[in-house]
């Protein structure tokens, strides 16, 4: 609460800085704005930056260090014997002190020593906050005055503001990149730990997947088998079925949209198709599990086919419907990008519309279409919710779409659901699977983007 008030105060100061800088620059210009190097607004931003950046930087540093500093000081004030406690006990103690200080329930008897520590904790925090507030506020005011003083006709405020903006943007994008790298590294390290327990060969080529490990030494049967082939084959089977649905449907609807549809029809139909992409996958999931799967099973029973109620077919078909918009919107883009001159050339030779599409437009757009298919495929492979709800858990090694199969994503979910020991092979297997998934979709995406870009260059 206190901190929020401080932050708001700083923000208000920064805004005041903006107006002060702006009016200062106007008065420096003495009625002739052309004497200034930059527009008055830039001087406003310049002062605001001087005012805001150092103050907020100090505040952020304080907030991130506060706990560590205060706790270290509190521990240092505890008796020697307590300080000598093992780390875990010390942590518990600190927790209690913190709880006591903020008026929460405490797990042990409150003795005077604890009480004193809590008070000390509280007063340290208060002092710390006051100090931080004093420092940041004076920094803000000093920055404001300093920035304002610097304003003169010769000050290149615009260039400096632009530099700050650029640095800010670079920092923002770095955050995204670093996060990605961090995720990949953590996947990698956990996977390496897994491969120390289970050999990579068994993982990649084993035909049996049954990740239950024995909890007790005398338990039978649950030795834990980590052959991922059934998962890969299940994933591929479902993705293949999905592409069989999405490929033709997406491509043909793109052809219709871009070549045949009246502009008015296109204006209505395209957004509708894009709504399909906006439906949450969990909705598709229960659509698959509650509507499509029973439908397939009943139809199958009607014609004498045995279709399991969690068939790969149902999951694949619904997933296919889900990725139709990907295929169709990418195909639509690349088909529209085929120059009009190609169409006219073909029509000019007396070709009909469908001949033109089949023999000129699709071949010309083919690389882009293939790229779109690959992107959709990587979407299908990584899709989780639909298969969790509709595909089942049985790790069957089969290519029969009427049977239940399971996928990599489903297994990752089941491996991590519930309370887990973090270093059992079972849990770590999820990371190895995740790593595989990541590698495959990354490769697909890279190839797809490469293909699409290459195609774009052709007509630039």
């Amino acid at each position: 609460m206190q901190t929020a008030i401080l932050a708001v105060t700083l923000a208000v100061l920064t805004i005041i800085g903006f107006y002060m800088g702006r009016s200062r620059s106007v008065s420096v210009a003495a009625g002739n704005l052309r004497r200034l190097h930059s527009l008055p607004g830039y001087y406003g931003y310049y002062v605001a930056l001087w005012c805001g950046i150092p103050a907020f930087a100090v505040l952020a540093t304080w907030l991130s260090l506060e706990t560590t500093i205060v706790e270290t000081l509190v521990i240092a004030s505890l008796p020697e014997t307590t300080q000598a406690l093992p780390e875990s006990r010390l942590n518990l103690l600190i927790n209690d002190i913190r709880n006591l200080a903020s008026g929460n329930i405490v797990s042990r008897e409150v003795d005077p020593e604890l009480q004193a520590a809590a008070e000390r904790y509280q007063s340290l925090r208060q002092t710390g906050f006051l100090a931080a507030a004093a420092v940041t506020l004076s920094l803000a005011i000093a920055g404001l005055a300093w920035g304002r003083r610097l304003i003169g006709p010769g000050l290149k405020a615009r260039n400096q503001v632009e530099t700050v903006v650029r640095v800010f943007l670079i920092v923002s994008s770095t955050i995204a990149i670093l996060t990605t790298i961090g995720i990949v590294l953590s996947l990698l390290f956990e996977a390496i730990r897994f491969f120390a327990l289970v050999s990579p060969l068994e993982f990649l080529f084993g035909l049996k997947w049954s990740p239950q490990t024995a909890l007790r030494a005398d338990q039978v049967g649950s030795s834990g088998l980590f052959g991922a082939i059934p998962l890969f084959s299940g994933t591929l089977l479902i993705s293949f079925i999905a592409m069989c649905v999405a490929g033709p449907a997406g491509l043909l609807s793109a052809v219709y949209m871009s070549e045949y549809a009246h502009p008015r029809m296109r204006a209505v139909a395209k957004p509708i198709l894009e709504i399909l992409a906006g439906i949450p996958t969990v909705v598709y999931g229960f659509f698959a599990a509650l509507t499509v799967a029973p439908f397939f099973r009943n139809t199958g029973a009607g014609v004498g086919l045995e279709i399991s109620s969690e068939s790969a077919l149902a999951a694949g078909v619904v997933m296919g419907i889900m990725i139709i918009p990907f295929v169709s919107s990418i195909s639509d883009d690349v088909i529209t990008a085929v120059p009009q001159a190609m169409r006219e050339g073909s029509y000019g030779l007396g070709a009909t519309r469908s001949e033109t599409i089949r023999q000129v437009i699709i071949p010309a757009a083919l690389p882009g279409i293939v790229g779109g298919f690959l992107l959709a495929m990587s979407r299908a492979i990584g899709e989780t919710m639909i298969v969790v709800m509709a595909a089942g858990l049985a790790a069957n090694l089969t290519v029969n779409p009427f049977e239940a199969v399971t996928t990599v994503t489903v297994q990752i979910v089941t491996l991590l659901i519930g309370d887990q020991e973090f270093d059992s092979a079972k849990t770590l297997a999820a990371f190895a699977l995740g790593l595989m998934l990541f590698c495959v979709t990354l490769c697909l995406n890279v190839i797809a983007l490469h293909v699409v870009n290459k195609y774009r260059e052709q007509y630039e």
């Binding site: 029509y347 000019g348 030779l349 070709a351 469908s354 010309a364």
Partner: protein
Amino acid sequence: MADSTPQAMPQEAAPISEPPPAAEPLKTSTDSGNGAVKFASRKVCVYYGEKQALFDVDLDVLKNKVTALIGPSGCGKSTYLRCLNRMNDTIPICRVTGEISLDGVDIHSKAVDVVHLRARVGMVFQKPNPFPKSIYDNIAYGPRIHGIASSKGELDDIVQSSLEKAGLLKEVHDRLQEPGTGLSGGQQQRLCIARAVAVEPEVILMDEPCSALDPIATARIEELIDELRENYTIVIVTHSMQQAARVSQRTGFFHLGELVEFGETEQIFTNPQDERTQGYITGRFG
């Protein structure tokens, strides 16, 4: 998906069965005693949505002559040219009124299939637009969709002779399987001419065929036009008056959507009747 074997495709268009241009069974009016009329247009108006782009154009294209259309840009030359093979049908907002007849038959009548019409009236565009296929397939495209060749050997012959007629055979005979897009601009344009010729049209429409080419390639195409005149009727849009004077026998001058003047090329350039024509060819505007 992409079907490159034409034999397997259903043929939507029956093979062209029009009489060869030599025989003239259809009624044709003769104009200025100079030869048979191929295209006759009367009161042709074209609208793009609300905007009218052509006003009452009356123009006769004579057989085995080169007719040039000149005029400042935006005056409707391309629009008129695209009426002749009903290319304007592909623009949804475009509407054509008036009468255009080819060999005496109204091209807008129900009896005329636009696919046949475009096979009889070929077109070459401003920017060379070879398909992203091999040189061979580019030329074989038209014969395949119209079922002109009955065997692979016949198709080969058509490709060879079309390239020969377009003066390209010598340059590409050993690389027919290479992509047509890999040729130089001038070669690409001649490839497009060969592609049009391969369908054995009676008329070839050319819309500023040299505007994207260098002077040498231009000279090459102009020569070619002169050779093609023997067997084909040619209508060429050009913004270069010198080119019109060099290649054409008859010239029409368009201005703001109207056909201002039309007649023998020599007469248009030496003794224009309309002062707008005079102004344009002496370089006072446009």
